[in-house]
């Protein structure tokens, strides 16, 4: 089934950067190959005619779901609860690495 067994390594590196994944060379090679195989497979969708067909995102087609004004917010976490799972906190805040150098 495979025509173009893998995607270029350069493209895999770009995807890893976009998705914030740190990958080894071996992993990049593996995923390039697997991505290529998958893309070959899913190409079979072009066998079906979708001219004039609308796309469906959610099958139950519910739209404009909103809360009424004044709905009590029962899902709020306390600061303590929200911070409980964090590995790094500082003065009751999440601590993160510097973003702007």
């Amino acid at each position: 089934m495979s025509k173009k067994a893998s995607i270029p390594k350069k493209n895999a590196e770009h995807l890893a950067k976009l998705t914030n994944l740190t990958l080894s060379d071996d992993e990049l090679a593996l995923y390039s190959k697997q991505l290529g195989e998958t893309i070959d497979y899913i190409d079979n969708l072009n066998e079906l005619n979708t001219k004039n067909v609308q796309a469906t995102s959610h099958s139950t087609a519910i739209t404009n779901v909103t809360f009424e004004d004044g709905t009590p917010s029962v899902r709020t976490l306390t600061q303590q609860e929200a911070l409980k799972g964090a590995n790094h906190t500082s003065s009751d805040y999440f601590a993160v690495n510097r973003i702007i150098a």
Partner: protein
């Protein structure tokens, strides 16, 4: 009361009649769960002290359940079988578990699963594979494999799993138990660790059809916290429609009877004969080849995975992204690819259009038939390790389940016999949108007629 093999419904009755105490019931299942953990690895976490909540009604008073480890349980470790969440204790309760706790149930343990629900064998778990109770050299299926193995070996009287595409029905088929996937939006996803948000669907895993209906009664219905949850009307009690004496028109999609292991196909055809003898009418129908549903599912699900797993940054909870294992990284990469500029129309939008075609295809066929029947899986349980040989293992194992997941329609897997290797064979019954009642009705009629060919009983008797 002899608890071994008792249905959830009968334990509810015994507790209500005070023939047995809640503490004794918990103790019975806790002991079994611990005793067989080494052999089966069905749990990530077993709870010595039951996880309980504020009780509003007592429908499930004193019933211990096992729950897949992707349901957030307040203050109870929830890992989705990924080491990234190894120590995560959610600060809130998922709607499904909240409703079960409000009904008086408790949670006995959190079941092993494929990590992030990415898989169909429970082998991608960071906590080691679950083993199939029918043959511990084999996989239980997945991703809800820990839950179906627990119910099959009777470590819990029932459990809750979740599906993105086949993750309840496929392991239910391989472990020889009842597994129901409701209509998308019938059961809230709030607090379920997200995989493919336009597919994800919680559902019951049980030893009887009535038990599945009983659990659906509790978990089904609209939820303010899930905007995709539907307020479409539901029966007050699914068991009433389930028990009606109905003569059904049963469609058999010919595309779903191809490439099935012969001894599996034979058992499913024998089940058809049972229905025919009961006076139900069979019709051969044609649907879009399920191989296209594999592609649609692969594209849309990977795209949603890449978005859903973007939140794991190690800042608010959990470890950082280096803790993702192979399968998650692969899916994140493919999702980012199909959503990227220049490819979006060719893949993502094309898949969404074919999703429309699959929905229309099912709506068309349900004008003529009440339910569709087919094997639930192309084969019975595979040996552990086999999946690595197949690049599309999960997708191929779930091929017969995917159209209902893409469309969002309900379906169930029930055991209909054993193959020549002595492994359980699952049959799938698909229904129309929000028509869980008819799906349950068809399954219940077979159970009443055959007691599932004693498959469930035989499974439990291996773990006396």
């Amino acid at each position: 009361m002899d608890l071994l093999g008792a249905s959830l419904t009968s334990i509810v009755q015994a507790l209500s009649d005070k023939k047995i105490s809640a503490a004794d019931v918990y103790d019975f299942f806790l002991k079994r769960s611990k005793h067989y953990q080494n052999d089966l690895n069905a749990y990530v976490t077993i709870l010595d002290k039951p996880h309980a909540g504020k009780v509003k009604n007592n429908i499930l008073h004193g019933i211990p359940l096992c729950v897949k480890d992707n349901f957030s349980t307040r203050g109870v470790r929830t890992t989705a079988s990924s080491k990234l969440l190894d120590k995560y204790e959610p600060p809130y309760e998922s709607t499904v578990t909240k409703r079960l706790l409000e009904a008086g149930a408790t949670i006995l343990g959190k079941n092993n699963m494929d990590a992030w629900a990415h898989g169909s064998s429970t082998e991608t778990s960071d906590y080691g594979p679950t083993r199939n109770p029918w043959d511990t050299q084999r996989a239980p299926g997945g991703s809800s494999g820990g839950t179906t193995a627990s119910v099959s070996a009777y470590l819990a009287p029932a459990g809750i799993g979740s599906e993105t595409a086949g993750s309840i029905r496929q392991p239910a088929s391989w472990c020889g138990v009842v597994g129901l996937k409701p209509t998308y939006g019938r059961v809230s996803r709030y607090g379920v660790i997200a995989m493919g948000s336009s597919f994800d669907c919680p559902g019951p895993v049980t030893t009887t059809v009535e038990d599945a209906a009983l659990l659906l009664n509790i978990i089904a219905g609209n939820d303010l916290f899930d905007a995709t949850c539907s307020d479409y009307k539901r029966p007050d009690d699914y068991r009433i429609g389930m028990k009606k004496k109905r003569k059904l028109t049963i469609g058999v999609p010919k595309e779903y009877m191809q490439n099935i292991e012969p001894s599996m196909l034979k058992k499913v055809e024998e089940a058809f004969e049972v229905y025919k003898k009961m006076g139900h009418i069979f019709k051969s129908v044609s649907l879009i080849d399920p191989k296209y549903a594999i592609s649609v599912y692969t594209i849309l699900q990977r795209a949603e995975v890449s978005s859903n797993l973007a939140r794991y940054d190690g800042v608010r909870y959990g470890k950082n992204r280096r803790a993702f294992a192979k399968e998650a990284k692969k899916r994140i990469m493919l999702g980012a690819f199909t959503l990227s500029q220049g490819f979006y129309d060719a893949y993502y939008e094309k898949a969404q259009k074919i999703k429309t075609l699959i929905i229309e295809d099912l709506r068309r066929v349900f004008k003529d038939v009440d339910v569709l029947m087919s094997p639930a899986t192309p084969t019975t349980a595979f040996k552990l390790g086999e999946f690595e040989k197949y690049p599309f293992f999960g997708e191929v194992m779930d091929v017969l389940n995917e159209s209902a997941s893409v469309a969002g329609t309900p379906a169930i897997s029930i055991p209909v016999g054993l193959d020549t290797k002595g492994l359980p064979v699952g049959m799938q019954i698909m229904g129309n949108f929000f028509d869980e009642e008819t799906v349950l009705n068809a399954a219940y009629q077979f159970e009443q007629e055959t007691n599932f060919m004693d498959v469930i009983k035989k499974g439990i008797n291996n773990y006396v």
